[in-house]
């Protein structure tokens, strides 16, 4: 029994958790739902005592938890969102990291479990895929004899098949008397996997109910509050002129024989699992990576893109999927973040502040970016607003070919809708958009045509209003 009583937490005067009370029992999977900033991650970090609470108690079977060590000893195990740490550590060392003593028997058992996953104990952590990393974390939770396993948005970086495998594993653990808390903002996952849905909004517990008894609509409404969801109609195919033509692009180990064209006024979706080569392809087109062979035409003319700067010069701009690692300049202002690319990479441009301020104001309004003012550091904005700042950077350049890599990853539903709307606007203005995502439903909704990538090759091409989601999924796994 995991009991959470009257948990309150503020960050710098802002209340992020407001009197949370929960009483959870083992043998169940709890789906913890909420938009970005709802307080999901904060809550679980408080449960394991990683963050200090302002008020309230966390108890497991009557014992109050007051330190990470104690949480671990009492069998609470958190698998965080940030899986990139401990690069050089070997898997076997990671498994027993923080364990004061262990039996050889346990080591042997862990080794066998790794074998099942086709992993070697001597492998470095950095060589694991995200899925393998989660599985290793699960094995580690066994080493610590965890009774409670908390996963913070594990599926936001897993493809559909790996997600399914993970859920199977979780079900197995549930039947072994484990309690599981799964943080997510994908409602479907709650229906498919969880027994109980818990919804947080703005730091408050707004709903808790049997997952089978609530409807999709009610969950969406609970997550969003007053905001209503906008549903868009299906898209038509276009007959615009070719804006970008890619012929036989190859990069060894990443993608092979990729050919496609992007028309004016079109959104071209690219779906595929993580590791299908989508990002490598996108980054090669924009000049971040070098490709081995193949050719590109922009507006019918052959182009050779040497680096990102020359790519922008040819009219190709790229929105990264790694918002924090490769996107924002955290300590710089909203304005600077939006305008950094607007000098075209020239190092000798003189900055005219008034003009730039006007321009930033215009884009803050246009994209509905929520910030104190344009001088606020981007670090302080929510994920969705950071993404909009990046979109502004991307659109201010005034180019025509937009490549967006997972533009809605890890952001809340409301911001997602706004991003779809922007994509639609870009299209209507006669630009071409390549929309890369591993969320098939999203791609089908937004794009005119869809390419399916698998193992570095384009395996199918289809117009959206002709296909069903299940058809695409089938191709992806072939």
């Amino acid at each position: 029994m995991l009991e959470i009583k009257n948990i309150n937490k503020s960050f710098g005067g802002v209340r992020v958790l407001n009197n949370i009370n929960l009483s959870l029992t083992e043998n169940k999977i709890y789906g913890l739902l909420g938009l970005n900033g709802a307080g999901k991650s904060t809550l679980v970090k408080i449960i394991i005592s990683y963050l200090k609470k302002d008020r309230g108690t966390v108890t497991i079977n009557g014992e109050e938890i007051s330190s990470i060590r104690q949480a671990l000893d009492c069998g609470i195990y958190l698998i965080t969102q940030d899986l990139e740490t401990l690069k050089e550590t070997e898997v076997r060392d990671f498994l027993f990291l923080g364990k004061m003593s262990f039996l050889l028997k346990e080591r042997k058992k862990a080794k066998d479990l790794l074998k099942e996953l086709n992993l070697f104990p001597e492998q470095k952590m950095s060589t694991l895929t995200k899925y393998q990393r989660i599985m290793v974390e699960l094995i580690r939770s066994d080493v610590f004899k965890a009774k409670w396993i908390i996963l913070d948005e594990p599926t936001s970086y897993l493809g559909p098949r790996k997600t399914e495998q993970l859920f199977k594993e979780l079900q197995k653990r549930k039947s072994k008397e484990n309690g599981i808390i799964l943080i997510t903002h994908k409602i479907d996952e709650v229906f498919s996997t969880a027994d109980v849905a818990i919804v947080l909004r703005d730091g408050k517990l707004v709903g808790i109910s049997d997952a089978k008894e609530c409807s999709r609509q009610t969950l969406i409404e609970l997550m969003l509050g007053e905001e209503k969801l906008k549903i868009c109609e299906s898209e038509e195919t276009t007959t615009g002129k070719d804006l970008l033509e890619i012929s036989n692009l190859n990069k060894k180990g990443s993608f092979y024989d990729v050919s496609f064209n992007l028309r004016r006024g079109e959104v071209l979706g690219i779906v595929g699992l993580v590791g299908a080569g989508k990002t490598e392809l996108a980054k090669s087109i924009v000049g971040y990576f070098k490709y081995d062979s193949g050719s590109m035409k922009v507006n019918g003319e052959d182009v050779k893109i040497k680096n990102v700067k020359s790519g922008i010069g040819e009219g190709v701009v790229y929105l990264t999927e790694e918002r924090i690692m490769e996107g924002i300049f955290p300590q710089m202002s909203v304005m600077e973040n939006m305008l950094i690319s607007s000098f075209g990479g020239s190092i000798t441009s003189i900055i005219k502040n008034n003009k730039l301020r006007e321009r930033s104001m215009e884009w803050i309004k246009k994209l509905n970016i929520v910030c104190k003012d344009m001088d606020q550091r981007v670090l302080e904005l929510s994920g969705g607003n950071q993404q909009k700042v990046l979109l502004a950077r991307f659109m201010i350049m005034g180019k025509e070919i937009f490549i967006m890599d997972e533009p809605t990853k890890g952001i809340d539903i409301k911001s997602k809708e706004e991003i779809y709307e922007l994509v639609r606007k870009l299209k209507e203005e006669g630009n071409g958009v390549i929309f890369i995502s591993s969320d098939v439903a999203e791609v089908l909704r937004i794009s005119n045509r869809t390419l399916v990538m698998s193992d570095g090759r384009i395996v199918a091409q289809c117009t959206s209003n002709m296909v069903k989601k299940s058809d695409i999924l089938e191709v992806m796994f072939k």
Binding site: I328, F329, P330, Q331, M332
Partner: protein, 308 residues
């Protein structure tokens, strides 16, 4: 609430520290709070100010430059030896500046194209520049320099020391470069998130090379100024100046990991170090003990900036 507002004013902590230092020193010695002593502080701080300007650019990119003190010495002795050999003043100074530029460029090339850690690269060039200086001079100072050259560091314009004017001009020039040009914004951007900078179409390598070149060039320049101010070039000049320059930058609120900071802050940092040095000299504290005090100040400054 009002009190809180006051503490949010930029550089308020640094300015408060500076004022408190001045009050304390004027209580400790009546020789401190005089107009001529303040001019003196400015004069003494000029060389450090110019080093710290270059250092600010480097630290903003998330780097560090340990070679500034050695480059200062080399620039100084080469210019002095050319002057002592009867060469044209302009030529001698240009060569001194070029030496700084070449060392800075080398630092930049190793840091950008070969992607090596700035700490190690500049540690190496620090040793090289100092070694070259000692070999070149056989360890002897070079003096008897022409009057016109010494005017740079000792002369006055309408009663105002020329060296302070030169420092001000340098500051304004680089302040403009850092705040009013795209190059300046890129400098911040690289320190804040290098990958994002590359993806934003910024030629990161070029900017890094320019930043280290600027730092080298300014080191050479400060070497020339120091030589002129003292009327001779010492092969051991600028020893430990990298510490002072880094201290000024960090005291001025620049993030040691890059992406945040300003030249105005650095200038306040220079004044703090300048006042401390001057005050300790007036109070007769030995230069050995001064080293200890400066080291402690640097530690505290980093600690403080980290906590913010």
């Amino acid at each position: 609430m009002k009190m809180k507002k006051v503490f949010e004013t930029p550089y308020i902590n640094q300015l408060l520290a500076l004022v408190l230092l001045c009050i304390a020193l004027s209580l400790l010695s009546e020789r401190f709070l005089t107009f001529s002593n303040f001019l003196n502080i400015f004069k003494q701080s000029s060389v450090l100010a110019i080093l710290a300007i270059g250092m600010t650019f480097v630290i903003l990119t998330g780097g560090i430059d340990l070679s500034v003190g050695s480059i200062l010495a080399l620039g100084g002795v080469v210019t002095a030896s050319l002057l002592a050999g009867g060469h044209n003043i302009v030529l001698a100074m240009v060569v001194g500046l070029l030496i700084g530029l070449v060392f800075g460029l080398t630092n930049g090339l190793f840091v950008s194209f070969f992607d090596l850690p700035p700490f190690i690269v500049t540690l190496a060039t620090m040793a090289i520049a100092r070694g070259v200086t000692l070999v070149y001079t056989s360890g002897y100072p070079i003096s008897t320099l022409p009057e016109t050259f010494n005017y740079l560091g000792m002369g006055k314009i309408a009663g105002f020391p020329f060296i302070i004017l030169l420092t001000l001009i340098t500051f304004v020039l680089f302040y403009f470069l850092l705040t009013k040009t795209s190059f300046g914004k890129y400098t911040y951007a690289i320190g804040d998130n290098k990958n994002a900078a590359i993806l934003s179409g910024i030629n990161v390598n070029l900017v890094l090379i320019l930043v280290y070149s600027i730092c080298g060039l300014l080191s050479g320049f400060s070497g020339i100024l120091l030589t002129s101010r003292l009327g001779s070039a010492q092969p051991t000049a600028g020893f430990g100046y990298e510490l002072d320059a880094i201290a000024c930058v960090v005291l001025g609120g620049t993030n040691l990991f890059g992406g945040k900071g300003s030249l105005i802050g650095t200038m306040i940092g220079v004044l703090i170090i300048g006042v401390i040095t001057n005050g300790l000299n007036i109070l007769g504290v030995s230069s050995f003990i001064q080293q200890i005090i400066k080291g402690v100040i640097l530690l505290l400054a980093i600690l403080f900036s980290k906590r913010k």
